[in-house]
């Protein structure tokens, strides 16, 4: 049997500033004029090119057989989404070749092309067509889609009047009823409530059982290990490991050190920016456990003296739900910072997070301006341990992320 997906030596190069600097004709004229002198010396322009470019994917090769469900894991910015974008033909590769045997449908984001003025029914036809369904096919599956989305009563209501839950359900329902040989899924499960997420996972399981090939990008290791038989671990644009799902996840988990450094030359024009982030504990270990006292550490670089700097961190769980926010403003603290490097510490005593992966958004700024805002969150991990509860049990996904010590008793009533 031939593989459904064959990727050979795939490279993708992006150029920094392509989006910003070429935005208007004037910028381009200005840039060309600036570059003009460097045309004279070949050496210079070469150096400049290298600096502005980076490889989002380097020498990626893998094969997927029909019916396999492959998880793709890796940190933010590792290249997972770029890979899916190339596979779904949204953007072309720089080098290399891919062969796809079968029709491809991608769920890079559900609800693509929804129009808020159109009714639910009209949007089913519009979105279906955009995703590549034929009209006859949509007619066939229409009732199924409506039932899956649980919106039969609101079919003739414009979707702008839908609740966000209804909107999401409808969007996913359409996508879920595509019937391609190859399905590419990117983080769809990060939205919607727990009930809906369960339903989505169930649907994907069904699709997989029907012998379709699925590539599934997610930060949710639970979902990955439940749905996939194999997984690809991507780091810095390279495939680090491709094999059994449990093994890949173990490797991935061990690779993240609760510490991240940002090397980002683009930011040097800012007044202040985040250079690094890590989480430490009171115990002298590299791993963090639930019952530790956490210290969140943010390294920054400041370009000029600042007198009223505020620092904040939003702690999110792996589905993107905010657990808590650490913010100096809550304590009326404004930092005086001298030009150069500084490090902020935020010690947290009574936050007991259950084992798992968490993300932090980092903010530095003052009351009026954000100097730097890491929206693409940084990951840290709370290790598994058995001794928080006497039973050694760990709550599952539906039981929340925060662990609290509990004293149980009973009193008889008359």
């Amino acid at each position: 049997m031939k593989p459904t997906i064959e990727v050979n030596n795939l490279y993708k190069k992006y150029t920094f500033g392509l989006k910003q600097s070429n935005y208007s004709l004037r910028d381009n004229i200005v840039n060309t004029t600036k570059k003009l002198p460097s045309f004279l010396s070949q050496k210079k322009i070469h150096g400049k090119l290298e600096k502005n470019q980076f490889w989002a994917l380097k020498n990626i090769s893998f094969k997927v057989m029909p019916g396999e469900v492959i998880g793709i894991i890796g940190r933010n910015g590792a290249g997972k989404s770029t890979l899916l974008k190339i596979l779904s033909r949204i953007t072309p590769p720089t080098k290399g070749e891919i062969t796809l045997r079968g029709r491809v449908a991608s769920l890079l984001e559900v609800g693509t092309g929804f129009h808020s003025e159109l009714t639910g029914k009209e949007n089913i036809y519009l979105n279906g067509a955009i995703l590549g369904m034929k009209r006859a096919e949509i007619n066939d599956k229409f009732d199924e889609i409506v039932n899956f989305a649980e919106i039969p009563k609101f079919l003739d209501t414009p979707v702008k009047h839908y609740s966000s839950g209804m909107y999401m359900r409808l969007a996913f329902a359409i996508a879920a009823h595509l019937d391609p040989e190859i399905l590419l899924v990117d983080e769809v499960l990060a939205v919607g409530d727990a009930e809906f997420q369960k339903k989505c996972l169930g649907k994907m399981g069904e699709v997989a059982k029907a012998g379709r090939t699925i590539l599934f990008v997610s930060h949710n290791m639970n979902a990955i290990s439940r749905l996939c038989n194999k997984a690809i671990f991507i780091k810095n644009g390279n495939i680090r490991f491709y094999g059994k799902v449990d093994e890949t996840i173990r490797l991935y988990n061990n690779s993240s050190l609760n510490k991240i450094e940002f090397i980002d030359s683009k930011k040097t024009h800012k007044k202040a920016f985040v250079k690094g982030f890590k989480v430490l504990t009171n115990q002298d270990k590299s791993s963090i456990f639930s019952n530790n006292v956490y210290t969140f550490i943010v390294d920054i670089q400041v370009q000029k003296d600042l007198s009223k700097l505020e620092v904040g961190m939003g702690i999110n769980d792996e589905l993107g739900h905010r657990i808590t926010t650490l913010f100096s403003r809550f304590y009326n603290i404004k930092f005086q910072v001298k030009c150069g490097f500084s490090t902020f510490f935020c010690k947290v005593k009574n936050l007991t997070l259950k084992p798992g992966v968490y993300y932090a958004n980092i903010f530095i700024g003052d009351r009026y301006e954000a100097y730097d805002f890491i929206l693409d969150p940084v990951m840290f991990k709370i290790q598994t341990e058995d001794n928080f509860f006497p039973s050694g049990m760990t709550p599952d996904e539906s039981q929340g992320s925060v662990l609290v010590t509990q004293k149980w008793s009973i009193k008889k009533r008359k």
Partner: protein, 279 residues
Amino acid sequence: MTNKTTNYEIKIKPIKTNFYLNFRELWDYRELFYIFAWRDIKVRYKQTFLGIAWVLFQPFISMIVFTVFFGNFAKMPSGNLPYPLFVLCGLVFWTFFSNSLSSASSSLISNENIIKKVYFPKVILPLSSVITGSVDLAINIILLFAVGLYFKFIPPLLILPIILLGYIISFLTASGLGLFFSALNVKYRDVRYIIPFFIQLLLFLTPVIYPTSIIKSSGKFLFILNPMAAVIESMRGVISGSFNIDFLGLGIASLIALAIFLTGLSFFNATEKFFADII
């Protein structure tokens, strides 16, 4: 996707060539032309009081305004046609051309979210904008007939092939320019500000409010280069019953329209691959 052919194979490679139009693929995606046009028509007049009547209003009001200013005050010659009918002949095709061009030019930008998320031949977006405009054209031609009858000009049968040819010429011209500007608009948002100027300028270079006869021979070459001029003049010739139609002019206009279309298309193809990265 109903016919599950197992030998269906897609190769993804770096894109190098510019001059291609994958007709098979466009045929596979033919429903998308219809669905985008349908969406635009459906959405355009939502939450408006007059609704679809706006289609008639635009040329009708322009006809009245032009008649007052150019017909009555400026005493613009209009051949053997009454000025309102004369100007409406021009406006019907001009409105189609200018509306199609301006909506095609912004079609990629306004569908940015789809381009970034799903693959489909992007040529469909500007082309379906022109298809949307065609629906308006059909309605406005009925308006033209009605105004013609009001002035007791009964259009001869020859008008049908002239309308068809005029439609093809203006379709190709509007699409060609639309493809070019929509692709340029992805990279340079300046296009958004250039287009209204460009259209206004073209209105003066096209015999919409005046007849070609008032232009001295040295300026005539502009009308030869402008396919819309031949379309509008032929419409006037046929509706007035004078059958004063310049078939050679129409032939040249067809060729120029085709050249504009192909140039626009190849520019579009050359830049299409990077749309998702830079839009």
